[in-house]
């Protein structure tokens, strides 16, 4: 075969593979993604798969058996909060006041999180007022 024709065929094959991959990517990504929401968006919602981002309301964390219950508020903290029911692995940085992400569905005003879907943001930035606060425990020597 003429080498130039051969080269063209190769190019066409490579390009079509790339196009196929691209189409696959675009198609599946729109169908497989879950919508990102804030707690205040979902107060009256039901059904649907969502990715919920917000702040764990301090003092709302309750372990009930292997179930974890807590409330999540919007990042600005002003709006009303949404109760979340969760099973599975709890990442170490999880605590009240932290920003977390969970995936799941909404049913009867409660966010039913998927198992093991809880992600906490890496807390490498802290505010400096922390240690002056008397709310902080000091463990003494005896």
């Amino acid at each position: 075969m003429d080498p130039n024709v051969k080269r063209k065929i190769r190019l066409v094959v490579a390009l079509s593979a790339a196009v196929l991959l691209a189409v696959g990517l675009i198609y599946t990504s729109f169908s497989a993604s879950s919508e990102a929401k804030q707690p205040s968006d979902l107060l009256n919602a039901s059904g649907g798969s969502y990715e919920l981002t917000g702040i764990v309301v301090p003092g709302s964390i309750q372990h009930r058996g292997s179930e974890l219950n807590f409330r999540m508020a919007d990042r600005d903290g002003s709006k009303p909060s949404l109760p979340v029911r969760y099973h599975g692995e709890i990442p170490d940085p999880f605590q009240g006041g932290r920003e977390v992400i969970v995936r799941g569905t909404v049913a009867d005003g409660t966010f039913m999180a998927d198992r093991d879907s809880l992600i906490t943001k890496c807390p490498s930035k802290y505010t400096t007022e922390a240690q002056q606060d008397p709310q902080h425990v000091i463990i003494t020597d005896n």
Partner: protein
């Protein structure tokens, strides 16, 4: 001292600008400007070294008048982690970036001081442009020398999670990787501008690209290791945006390292190579940006930051500038030769390149999908791990196959018959392994994993064959034992055989990834002391709770003793536990003791590691039954706390002691009347081999980087030859 450091930083900024301008003037051919620019780079490196030393000294003595120290360290932070606390801060990591850039720029400019007279001034200008950018960012947006007034009595301390050896080395490794890619990038730009597009710029910067690649890879591995052993999550990879951000430049950089060999050998793929290095460096900048911008929801998003905007502008300039430059130089980048046959090393390299870039493209799309979808649908929708796995798994499998074939084929062309002979033995080995796995294990239940095992076996067998072939050839020339012949191979061609070791390590790593992700068992158990549960063929018994208070680290630990039997025989005793830390994090409200238990906590994993894999356990005690006690203590403490006047140090100390007493009381109650605890038990087959394979790959990379003795001799010979020629010229 701090003022002196701040002065050095300003001076460094000025020197960077001066060197950049002098280098640009030097591009017109006046060597004095180019030499002055180079010396400017050395001065830049010295100034930034002083800055780093001053900052680290401030961390060492916990100088809390410095904002960066007060925010990231404290007097109770262990000494080793005080040093590493620098790069947990944004300011410190910018300083690290600039410092590594200054050192590596100095190294490359020293090494090439008598070479590439046309390219180096441009490369110097690019590097110093970057240097000025990052020092400018520190001066105007995030200064590491910012002071705090009034000086706080104690620092925030380093996040307990980050107190892990892997975490101490992971960030500098990643940054070193990112920064080292600036060297081949700068030289590529220089080569493009001066139209010197032969492979000479590649030869001079190849080792820097390799170091970048190795450091980035090591950094990624350490991050995975930390995540696995420290995060109490049990996984090593989650397709998190920041993980992806480090993997993308690594993948494209891997493609670059392979395709430059094609350019060196065959003078082909020039456009591809300059595009790859520009892409790699842009992705490296993007990695730096993603960590610091908070644009994507990530576990690593370090809060909103001030440096995101300028970084984005820099990335834009790099991408647009390099694209325009490449397009304008297309006529100079024509291949000297063409691919002669599909059955040749260069075409396999090209396929592997496409696969690597394809992988990076998939990851890029998935990572930035929230932004893409926001653009089209107005909603920030995101993609989870299953989506990534769907694409990366098949691509990785094919990649492994071609990694096996590549080293077998010669350059230019291989006849079909010869190809058959070369492929026969590895193919038979792979077939046998696959058949055996399908027959004797349940591997066939996960077809993708089975194919991965087969292809990886093929790649490993091909490498064994290559080593055997090389050793046999060596022996026929110089005799000696097989062992000596193998050593001789490494000595003779470190780059090639080091590369093969990297391949072997990565094949092992991918086998382990496939096995541990496809065949993992994961159970959540809720046990009271004395109860047991069965997971796979392990029987796990919660023997008794433990509790420990460590005042030095301000830590309370609730732990457990788990005894494990496997098939009825004693197997292991594991001690998963959970630590609660005082004095870090934001108070959760509802009283000091409640805040303490809902605040910062870390899991210590109980793990039994064997050749076959890990039995991994973590524990979260159910504090529900302790709630009344905690509430009671808090009510009492808060009543007392309200009576304390600010500034009454003795009363505050007494209050602290009362808090300590309350914690101790809760500890005693926990031990005396233990509540049930929630355990996560994972059986992770072969997971150990991820770290073994990774370590093998790192060793291979070091072998490839190490200067070959021949090259050293040649360099010495070159110097003699030059001197001789000069002397002859004088005579």
């Amino acid at each position: 001292m701090i003022t002196f450091g701040a002065g050095c930083l300003i001076l460094a900024f000025a020197v960077a600008i001066y060197s950049g301008v002098a280098a640009l003037l030097g591009t017109r051919g006046d060597r004095r400007f180019a030499d002055s620019a180079r010396r400017g780079v050395y001065a830049f490196a010295i100034l930034l070294t002083i800055c780093v030393v001053i900052i680290e000294a401030a961390f060492a003595r916990t100088d809390l008048s410095l904002q960066v120290v007060a925010d990231h360290s404290s007097t109770t932070t262990p000494a080793f982690y005080r040093f590493t606390a620098m790069w947990s801060s944004q300011e410190g990591s910018l300083l690290l970036w600039a410092w590594v850039l200054s050192l590596t720029s100095s190294a490359v400019l020293f090494a090439t001081r008598n070479k590439h007279r046309e390219i180096t001034p441009w490369a110097t200008a690019v590097l110093m442009g970057l240097g000025a950018f990052f020092t400018g960012l520190m001066l105007f947006a995030a200064s590491p020398f910012a002071r705090l007034s009034p000086v706080p009595p104690e620092g925030v301390g380093l996040e307990p999670l980050l107190r892990h050896p892997a975490m101490a080395i992971h960030p500098p490794m990643l940054y070193t990787g990112y920064v080292f890619f600036a060297i081949p990038f700068a030289f590529a730009i220089g080569a493009l501008i001066t139209r010197r597009t032969d492979a000479s710029w590649i030869r001079s910067t190849r080792r820097f690209a390799l170091i970048a690649w190795l450091c980035l890879g090591t950094g990624i591995l350490l991050g995975a290791r930390w995540s696995y052993s420290e995060l109490g999550w049990g996984g090593y990879w989650g397709w998190d945006p920041v993980e992806n951000a480090s993997l993308m430049p690594w993948l494209v950089g891997t493609a670059f390292l392979h395709s430059i060999m094609v350019q060196e050998r065959r003078g082909m793929l020039k456009v591809w190579n300059v595009s790859l290095i520009c892409m790699t460096f842009s992705l490296a900048l993007l990695g730096t940006f993603l960590v610091r911008s908070g644009i994507l929801d990530s576990i690593h998003a370090f809060g909103e930051s001030t440096v995101g905007g300028p970084l984005l502008v820099l990335i834009g300039v790099v991408i647009v500038g390099s694209t325009l430059l490449i397009v304008s130089r297309l006529p100079d980048l024509r291949s000297e030769k063409r691919i002669e046959s599909l059955v040749s090393r260069e075409s396999i390299f090209l396929v592997n390149n496409l696969l690597l870039v394809g992988l990076a493209a998939v990851i890029f799309w998935g990572t930035f999908f929230p932004l893409i979808s926001e653009l089209f649908t107005g909603n920030k929708a995101s993609l989870a791990a299953p989506w990534f796995n769907r694409y990366t798994t098949p691509l990785a499998i094919v990649l492994v196959l071609f990694t096996g074939i590549g080293p077998l084929f010669a350059w230019r062309r291989v006849s079909v018959g010869a190809a058959g002979r070369l492929l026969a033995r590895p193919a038979i080995a792979a077939g046998l392994v696959t058949a055996a796995l399908a027959a004797f294990t349940d591997a066939a239940s996960h077809p993708f994993a089975l194919v991965m095992f087969g292809f990886a076996a093929f790649a490993l067998a091909a490498l064994v064959q290559e080593f055997a072939r090389g050793a046999a050839a060596y022996r026929s020339l110089s005799g000696g034992s097989y062992g000596r012949a193998l050593m001789g191979l490494f000595a003779r061609n470190r780059r090639r055989y080091g590369g093969y070791v990297v391949h072997a390590g990565l094949a092992i790593l991918l086998i382990a990834v496939a096995a541990s992700s496809s065949f993992q068992t994961s159970r959540d158990l809720r046990l009271r002391p004395g109860q047991s549960a069965v997971v796979d063929n392990y029987t796990i018994t919660y023997e008794r709770p433990t509790a420990d208070i460590n005042p030095a680290e301000q830590r309370l630990t609730f732990g457990s003793v788990l005894t494990v039997t496997k098939d009825g025989k004693p197997y292991a005793t594991l001690y998963p536990s959970r630590n609660y830390f005082a004095g870090v994090g934001t108070p959760a409200g509802g009283g000091p003791i409640r805040s303490f238990f809902e605040g910062e906590a870390t899991s210590e994993v109980g793990r039994k590691t064997t050749v076959g894999g890990d039995l991994w356990t973590s524990m979260i005690p159910d504090l529900g039954p302790l709630n009344p006690l905690i509430g009671k203590a808090d009510r009492k403490l808060m009543a007392i706390g309200r009576g304390i006047k600010p500034g009454d140090v003795r009363a505050q100390q007494t209050f602290g002691a009362l808090q300590g007493l309350a914690i101790r009381k809760i500890e005693q109650t926990y031990l005396h009347d233990p509540p049930p605890a929630n355990f996560r038990v994972n059986v992770n087959p072969l997971v150990t081999w991820i770290w073994v394979g990774g370590a093998i790959a790192v060793i291979g990379g070091l072998v490839a980087i190490w200067p070959a003795p021949e090259a050293r001799r040649r360099r010495v010979a070159d110097v003699y030859a030059a001197r001789l020629a000069r002397d002859l010229g004088r005579a």
